[in-house]
Amino acid sequence: MSKKRPASEYQKTFAFRFFRWLSGSKDPYLGEVEMHPQKEFRADPEAALRHEKEHDAILDKVYNPERNMEMKLFHKLYHATSIIFCLFLIALLLVTISWLPASGTIERPANNEVAERYIEKGLEETGAVNIVAGMILDYRAFDTLGESHVLFTATITVLILLRLNKTEKDEAELSDRRFEPKNDAILQLVATFLVPVIIIFGIYIILNGHLGPGGGFSGGAVIGAGLVLYLNAFGFKKTERFFTEKTYKWVCFFSLSFYCLAKSYSFYTGANQLHSVIPKGTPGAILSSGLILPLNIAVGLVVACTIYAFYAMFRKGGF
């Protein structure tokens, strides 16, 4: 058995020195390496300033596109590979198109029983004379439901980006209000005649969505364009009388929720084979084709308000 050794003798053994070094309590360099005493650091202002200037100069040199070789090389490389990739894509697409069935001919896979049924039974099943409107709002209504929500999402993101909160709004409003209304007589005269015609034409397109070409989207866009023309001619004060953020919010809410509820009713009744009580009406009459007319009106309102909201957001960051 190893007898206990006195502390002083143990300190000289190799094991003690090794474990002391391992635990880091004794710094092996202390005293061995010749070190002159450290000077106390006094930061003089102009040296710091000089460092700062040099630092910025280096930064500008590094990030200066003209002199930075690596950035220039990267740009050339990027342009070259992009052009080659796009030429390759053109060649690939042209080769695929050459193998596709000839367009405009009759015997092609696309003209199968799906298209035939839309045309033959479209009138009696959806009641819409315009088969495309019938297909969008009745056969494949789920796409168009998603579609109006794409527009709604885009409005939300534009609201997030461009809507100024209270403080900035007054300052921005001042800058935009200074220019209006420019009261140039030509625009106002033209607008007084043109805006009513545009809005009536837009309403006509929406109401006849299921009878002739057009429908919710195009009618709404036409009405939106008319509102934008009115805003440009007569300035924000006039339009804010009837179109503020509250009207926008509630119009969008009512039409989108009507759209959602009407479509979920028809999906639910369809999926569970229940008879839906919506009448098809006589084809050709305005009040025909079941839900398509009210849906067109709802989509038209949403699109018109959205387009006016985009313009007002871009112009003034608010309503």
């Binding site: 315009n130 495309v132 409107a133 800058s175 397109i205 002739g212 070409p213 057009g214 429908g215 989207f217 195009s218 866009a221 036409v222 939106g224 364009a225 934008v228 387009i307 985009f310 313009y311 871009f314 112009r315």
Partner: protein, 91 residues
């Protein structure tokens, strides 16, 4: 009918190429407006009037108006003085 379509498609390609090489932003947007007008004419030749109305109202109308408002906001059009407004530095 196909001759007319070929002319329209030629116009489309000319507009698309000239947009990418035009220096002035305003010209680019005017050429883009003509591009979408030619496109809505092409829809009519392809027997789909729904698309023609929508493309005309939305492509030439709304998109171009939004482009012009953006240019005005970005002071790219001469004569509108750029107001220097410094936002606080972010982290």
């Amino acid at each position: 009918m196909t001759a007319f379509q070929i002319i329209l498609m030629g116009l489309l390609i000319i507009c698309a190429v000239s947009v990418s090489f035009s220096k002035n932003l305003l010209n680019a947007i005017l050429i883009y407006m003509s591009f979408s007008l030619v496109m809505s004419m092409l829809w009519i030749c392809l027997e789909s009037p729904d698309l023609a109305i929508t493309e005309a109202a939305v492509g030439a109308g709304i998109t171009s108006v939004l482009f012009f408002v953006t240019l005005k906001k970005i002071h790219a059009i001469e004569g509108t003085e750029p107001s220097k407004k410094e936002e606080p530095k972010d982290e």
